[in-house]
């Protein structure tokens, strides 16, 4: 809520326009009656129902009075009525809403119930009741409108003061024995004033429209007084001969209503501090040249080289990521939040938002180049071959559809399986992830599942077509520790029994070590080390070692605090020229700040992006 955005809201085109309009109406209300009042009341039997002409720019009404002058003069009464009614409604409503705060919960409930019934009652109906009891006329309609505004203000004040009522300072005031009326005036009202004033401004516009409609119906302002509503009601009968008689007041009502509502909205926006949001633009899709045939490799299921993801604003959370996944292999991607591990997984799966630009030197899956494909082409290529397990099981299942339906639609859509057999397959897959009583469970909605069951259902969903690769984006982050192991075991089973390869993303290196064959360690958008899980105890990169060092095990001395990695990882916007880990690294030397170390391939498919650790490894081996 910066001052600049506040000012931006008020000085934006809408803010300026509404301010000018409201100011113009206020000026009109002051100067119009003395200037044109006489002319507006001048009855001219010789010029009745005339169209626009030189003497009367908007023509005359059925008594020969000048329509323009009347429309301008009516500003004062129309505005004054709306203002008085809104203020009265606001004051009475606020009092009604705030008072219960000082009383017990029983009184508060009663007030809330009364306000509820009151709110449910339509404005016009309430106005009619009042018009009948007090007779029709200016005062009666103002009272009627004020009465209809009371409940919404009361509700607002009630909600706001309830939050104040639970606050520490009011509790302190009560303990100090400050009398109730002082509690209200000194503690409650000042803290809820701002939203109430905003609501008042917005309500003036609505009040103006409502009062005009009462006068239009003939139960508001009575002759000889006139406001826009009455002019409109009278002008309507002459709409064939002099349409301006109805149109002029109609335009005034709309303009004034819009001006006040807009001013209120602008003020509210200024207070909230959200002046104009910038939505991301869609990234341009590039279609690179096709790969030569000899670059393909049958023993590689997924081949990613030089993957780079750019978000709007030039932020690149993933830079030069290169890796391969062989059929049936489980590869883990590990790193802290912000390391680019999830973005990498989503980029490979083609599920990043359209605003993200994905570039890759090579992105080949099962022999097909995935680069520059349209959504439709990706659907055909990946539909039966790639399964995706999302991060948050609580929000990743559609709440409006039965779980079985959400599983069955995969095979219905891609393989044209009939509904009944697709459902049977869904039940079978749910049983496969050890969901008890799968027939009944399949017919349930996601909210009837626990978190662990939902994640298992999502894994079953990814396996509907028995894909060649499952990409799991932090599949265990939202789950209890005990459930995490069960869920990961399901991915391992799929790999063992059906030869499904998997990419599993997690921040938990121990969890991945128990599941994967190979680990990719990511830091600040780059892979810093690739290592077989078996070789993990000999990990070389200082960051991998720090991750491993942060794990407590049975030998950890519990009297000492747990090891942590000092500092925090840089955000993608802070990536500099040198090694991103250097500021937190125990091995760092001055040259680490200058050049980002390249990812060098060592023997056995191992890769490492740290020359200093590399030297140590080589020396250690020698």
């Amino acid at each position: 809520m910066s001052n600049r955005s506040r000012r931006a809201a008020l000085t934006g085109p809408l803010g300026v326009a509404s301010l000018i309009l409201v100011a113009a109406f206020v000026v009109l209300a002051v100067v119009a009656p003395p200037l044109w009042g006489e002319r507006a009341d001048l009855v001219d039997p010789g010029a009745m129902n005339q169209g626009p002409g030189p003497g009367h720019p908007l023509g005359t009404d059925n008594l020969g009075r000048d329509i323009l002058a009347r429309a301008l003069v009516a500003t004062r009464l129309s505005l004054a009525m709306a203002l008085v009614a809104t203020l009265a409604g606001a004051v009475a409503g606020t009092a009604l809403g705030v008072l219960p705060t000082a009383f017990g919960p029983r009184v508060r409930r009663w007030f809330a119930a009364v306000i509820d019934v009151w709110l449910a009652f339509p404005v016009l109906l309430l106005a009619m009741f009042v018009a009948i009891m007090l007779g029709t006329g200016t005062t009666a309609s103002v009272i009627a409108l004020a009465l209809t505004m009371v409940p919404s203000f009361a509700r607002l004040a009630q909600t706001l003061s309830a939050s104040v009522g639970g606050s520490e300072y009011l509790a302190a005031a009560k303990v100090l024995g400050i009398p109730r009326h002082r509690q209200l005036l000194r503690y409650v009202l000042p803290n809820i004033a701002e939203p109430l004033i905003l609501n008042t401004t917005i309500s003036v516009g609505g009040g103006l429209l409502a009062l005009s409609s009462l006068s239009f119906l003939g139960i508001g302002v009575k002759a000889p007084d006139y406001d826009w509503g009455r002019m409109l009601g009278e002008g309507l009968s002459a709409i064939y001969t002099t349409p301006t008689a109805a149109l002029a007041p109609a335009v005034m009502i709309v303009l004034a209503g819009v001006a006040f509502s807009m001013l209120g909205e602008t003020l509210a926006k200024a207070v909230r501090g959200d002046a104009g949001s910038t939505a991301p633009r869609r990234a341009v899709r590039e279609r690179p040249a096709p790969l030569a045939a000899e670059e393909r490799d049958d023993d590689v299921l997924l081949d990613v080289a030089g993957l780079r993801v750019t978000f709007p604003g030039g932020v690149t959370p993933v830079r030069e990521v290169t890796f391969r996944v062989r059929p049936g292999e489980i590869v883990g991607i590990v790193g802290e939040s912000g390391s680019g591990k999830s973005v990498t997984a989503l980029a490979v799966a083609g599920l990043l938002p359209a605003s993200a630009a994905v570039h890759a030197d090579r992105l080949t899956f099962d022999g097909h180049d995935l680069r520059g494909r349209t959504e439709a082409e990706l659907r055909g290529l990946l539909g039966t071959r790639l399964g995706f397990v999302p991060q948050d099981p609580m929000t990743s299942l559609n709440p409006a559809l039965r779980v079985g339906r959400q599983l069955a639609e995969v095979v219905e859509h891609h393989s044209g399986t009939p509904r009944a057999s697709a459902w049977r397959l869904a039940v079978e897959r749910l049983a496969g992830v050890r969901i008890a009583d799968p027939e009944r469970r399949a017919a349930q909605f996601p909210h009837e599942y626990s978190g662990g069951m939902r994640q298992r259902a999502l894994i079953a969903m990814a396996q509907m077509e028995r894909p060649k690769l499952i990409i799991a984006d932090e599949p265990t982050t939202a789950l209890d520790v005990t459930v995490q192991r069960h869920v990961l075991r399901l991915i391992a089973e799929a790999s063992r029994e059906h030869g499904t390869a998997a990419i599993v993303v997690s921040h938990d290196i121990a969890l991945l070590a128990g599941l994967c064959t190979r680990l990719l360690v990511m830091y600040s958008g780059r892979i810093v080390e690739e290592i077989d899980v078996a070789a993990l105890p000999r990990a070389a990169h200082p960051y991998t070692r720090a991750l491993l060092g942060a794990l407590p095990d049975l030998d950890t001395d519990r009297s000492l605090p747990l090891t942590t990695i000092p500092g925090r990882p840089p955000t993608p916007a802070e990536f500099g020229a040198g090694c991103a880990f250097a500021p937190r690294c125990g091995l760092a030397a001055p040259e680490c700040e200058d050049d980002d170390p390249p990812l060098l391939t060592l023997d056995g498919g191992r890769r490492l992006a740290c020359p200093r650790a590399h030297k140590e490894t080589v020396h250690g081996n020698a």
Partner: protein, 323 residues
């Protein structure tokens, strides 16, 4: 969540809502009774005018039972309501029930056609615009859409009606201006009533669709490589309905009330024009009966909407009610 408990919860929910409706109706009946009997002055004298002979006023008063003690009158009023007697006009003694029977269908037709039009168009339009403008695409369309819907949102129904009359009955006489002369007579009144709620509801539908489009479960659906048609209609649409229908439900009341104004503009033979006339004539007998009918229609409409939404979204409503 056990299957057995749902009907019991639904019954309790229904019972609670019906009880609330009964209390509200009783309050409205009492207010409408008090409205006439607590009004300062003599309503019969007002209705018949200052020149009416004293004997006529006394006779009318006796005929309507207004010379009885207040409690007796209240009891008689309620007894009458229970047998379908809504009272009589103070001016000509006509039965209110008869007036309602001849005029209510006109109002209901108008409101029902408008509501149908709104519900039919709001969700598809909102979804379509949401899909076209998602991720900041087609900024021009988004701007135009926001401008048009805000414009209609700011204009009250009766002014829209006046504008439509001016454009399509006076300037280009395509449609009749008043009364019912055939199917074409319905076009302008229904549009006048429908356009404003449509503008509001379609904005809600777009916002809800955009929210659903950005939801994790839609990414899951994309991860399953479903076709856009399936994603939009099966995964997005149902998740926008609850919010849209809840808001649409609150608009029913507004629609009924706005019909009073729109009926006046189009001289529509409905209940609205009668009540406006009888307020002008200060015929409190007729006003009392008709306001009562309006109030009960509004209350019952609210109840129906509540129950429908409760059935539609059992999870939230029943859980709330149980808490």
């Amino acid at each position: 969540m056990k299957v057995k408990r749902v009907p019991a919860g639904a019954a309790a929910f229904l019972a609670r809502r019906l009880a609330r409706l009964l209390v509200a109706v009783l309050v409205v009946v009492t207010i409408s009774f008090a409205m006439v009997h607590l009004t300062p002055g003599d309503p019969i004298r007002t209705a018949l005018g200052p020149t009416a002979p004293e004997e006529l006023v006394a006779a009318r008063r006796a005929a309507l039972g207004l010379d009885q003690p207040l409690l007796t009158q209240y009891a008689a009023y309620i007894r009458g309501l229970l047998t379908g007697d809504l009272g009589h006009s103070f001016v000509n003694g006509q039965s209110v029930a008869e007036v309602v029977a001849t005029r209510l269908p006109g109002t209901v037709q108008l409101a029902a056609l408008s509501l149908g039009l709104v519900l039919l168009l709001a969700v598809p339009t909102g979804l379509l615009v949401a899909v076209l403008t998602r991720d900041g695409r087609r900024r021009g369309l988004e701007l135009g859409y926001t401008a048009v819907t805000s414009f209609f949102h700011a204009i009250p129904e009766y002014l829209l009606a006046v504008g439509l009359v001016f454009l399509f009955a006076v300037t280009w006489p395509v449609f009749p201006v008043a009364g019912i002369t055939g199917p074409s007579s319905y076009v302008l009144p229904v549009l006048s009533l429908a356009i404003v709620p449509l503008a509001v509801l379609t904005r809600i539908a777009r916002a809800e669709s955009l929210r659903a489009l950005g939801a994790d479960y839609v990414r899951t659906a994309r991860g399953k490589r479903l076709s856009p048609r399936l994603i939009y209609f099966r995964h997005v649409l149902p998740n926008t309905l609850t919010a849209v229908l809840t808001l649409g439900g609150t608009m029913v009341t507004g629609l009924i009330v706005s019909s009073v104004l729109v009926e006046k503009v189009f001289n529509w033979p409905g209940l609205g024009s009668v009540i406006v006339q009888s307020i002008e004539l200060q015929d409190y007998g007729l006003v009392q009966g008709i306001t009562l009918v309006y109030a009960v229609v509004v209350l019952v409409a609210n109840l129906i909407v509540d129950v429908l939404l409760g059935l539609l979204d059992r999870r939230t409503t029943l859980r709330e009610e149980a808490a």
